[in-house]
Amino acid sequence: AGGGERTLVVANWKGYGSDSEYAVEQFEKANNCKVVHQYYDSLEQMLTMIRQGGNGKIDVVLSNMAYTDTAKKEGLISAIDTSKLENYASLQESLKEVEDVVDEEGKVYGVPWMWGTTALGYNKEAVGKEIDSWSALWDEANQGKVTMFDDHITAVLVAAMYIGEEDPYNADLSKIEEALMALKKNCKLYWTSYDSFAKPYSAGEITMGPLWSGAATQLNATGVDVEYVYPKEGVVAWTDYWCMVEGTKNEDLAMKWIDWMSSEDFQKEYSSDLEGQPPVPANVKVQETLSDDVRKALYIDGDMPEKLYFQKAIPEETNQAWLDLWNKVKAAQ
């Protein structure tokens, strides 16, 4: 390594594509620089990271749509000149420049990278029939075999879809509470991480529950059969955006990184790495060229669900209220 080599600091989840060998090596070679990853293990931590001492240290950060709004409002990330990105045009239009990533002046703060869903995963063999509705979670026949994602937002949204709320983000909390209490009776456990779903699921302790699409992909790829379906009531979805940290000294490199992450080469490679929990690539060209097997593995082979509720920024009070509600449900004996 030469003395004048520059270092690009990237913040992301661990094992989420960007830290794979091919991603890092190719970029380093092409740009004669070094790439260092900083991992966060929650999006709150991601925010705190940039807030405290992250400025000037972290150059690029991957953020969930729901959190770019906060980051943007707090001035933690800077606007991106999308015209300088070669691959921006190829990205899925519906994900670009949505409310949470642009400001009043129309400046763009996040470049879509991947998206995925939280739908219903189940063990077809154990359940013995096809499932197409969230109501299966509430079905007494599945008592003791159900799990729920231990996340107040997912929990509220799923419950809202189950009871048929028009706008899940403004649902009637008392009804939600009722539904979640009912669900608790059926639930064996609440899962918190990939492992805490995968282990009991593969051991047969549980047979169904809300699941990340990437998690389902990885499970299938490692030999554990799981059906992943989009329930008719709707599906929670999330999008991850690349953002540039305010005050970075490596703006050029950061832009190149974002471009590289959006590129066909990279996205295609990552999408085919089925054991790496790959979500759906935002690059349309990649989406089109994916093999049928991969499309199937990513659950984008058939019709996409009509009702796709993207996780978006919610006000602080709502967040606290949902959390309190979820804690109350969990605490109930």
Binding site: A11, K14, G15, Y39, Y40, G53, Y194, D195, S202
Partner: protein, 262 residues
């Protein structure tokens, strides 16, 4: 005296089995092909290959070991000073001080970790190596003192005075007489500190600088993406090495000196 208390012996065997059963599982799983620890068992060594093909796990282990060693070292040094000071101020005042140490043990790490983070953020120290080091040290310090202080009190009387009459300065007395006399307790304290720090997820979770991953944090991260049994392989190696060390040490007869612990 043999064969007295058969039920006590039975419970001992049971408890030791209980303590090493999960270890057995870890070792078993490190040779099991299934990444989720499910049966049927299928023998493989691929996790060991994966482990030795490099990667973050090795780095995290090295970091944790070095960090815990440093923390244990600092805790032993400060603990020695503290214990010596406690002995000098007399039993009654020392009792008050050990209450203070106790309180550092009983405050749950969760609460303490958060409270320290708030303090560090206020003082501008924030998440940093220094903060993580201080936090872990203060958490293990009481274990060291509570082991070393009684040993100091039980020191063979007069040996220190004897050394003085032979011309040794107080400092020299400490190094050549006091310290060797309490070495088993100091070793026990250091070991305890090492273990507690090596395993301390909570404090490190709150105080580690961003991007710095000690072994507990690394495993915590891995759990989110799905950890592979290469951790089991790592743990198996560590346990086998430490059990081997213990047995070796006892063979060599260091353990014979009454009570390596307490």
């Amino acid at each position: 005296m043999k064969k007295k208390y058969p039920w006590v012996r039975a419970i001992m065997i049971l408890v030791y089995a209980f303590m090493f059963l999960p270890i057995g599982i870890v070792i078993l799983m490190s040779f099991n092909a299934s990444p989720y620890g499910t049966f049927p068992f299928e023998f493989t060594t691929k996790w060991y290959e994966l482990l030795f093909s490099g990667g973050d796990l090795g780095q995290a282990t090295a970091l944790s070991l070095i960090f815990s060693l440093l923390v244990a070292l600092a805790a032993v040094l400060i603990g020695l000073l503290t214990a010596q000071g406690m002995r000098r101020i007399g039993k009654r005042k020392a009792a008050v001080f050990s209450q203070l140490l106790n309180s550092a043990i009983i405050v749950p790490w969760l609460v303490l970790g958060i409270a320290m983070l708030i303090l560090f953020n206020m003082t501008g120290l924030g998440r940093s190596y220094l903060g993580m080091f201080l936090g872990n040290t203060v958490v293990v310090l009481p274990y060291v003192v509570l082991l070393v202080y009684p040993a100091l009190l039980e020191q063979k009387p007069n040996a220190e005075s004897a050394a003085r009459t032979l011309g040794a300065s107080p400092l020299r007395v400490f190094w050549t007489v006091t310290l060797p006399g309490i070495l088993p307790a100091v070793a026990a304290g250091g070991l305890m500190a090492l273990m507690v720090c090596f395993n301390n997820f909570v404090i490190q979770y709150y105080l580690a600088p961003f991007g710095v991953r000690t072994l507990p944090l690394e495993i915590y991260n891995l759990v989110r993406v799905g950890y592979k049994p290469d951790i089991n392989a790592l743990a198996s190696i560590m346990v086998v090495v430490s059990v081997g060390l213990v047995l070796l040490v006892s063979r060599l007869g260091f353990g014979k000196k009454k009570g390596l612990f307490w």
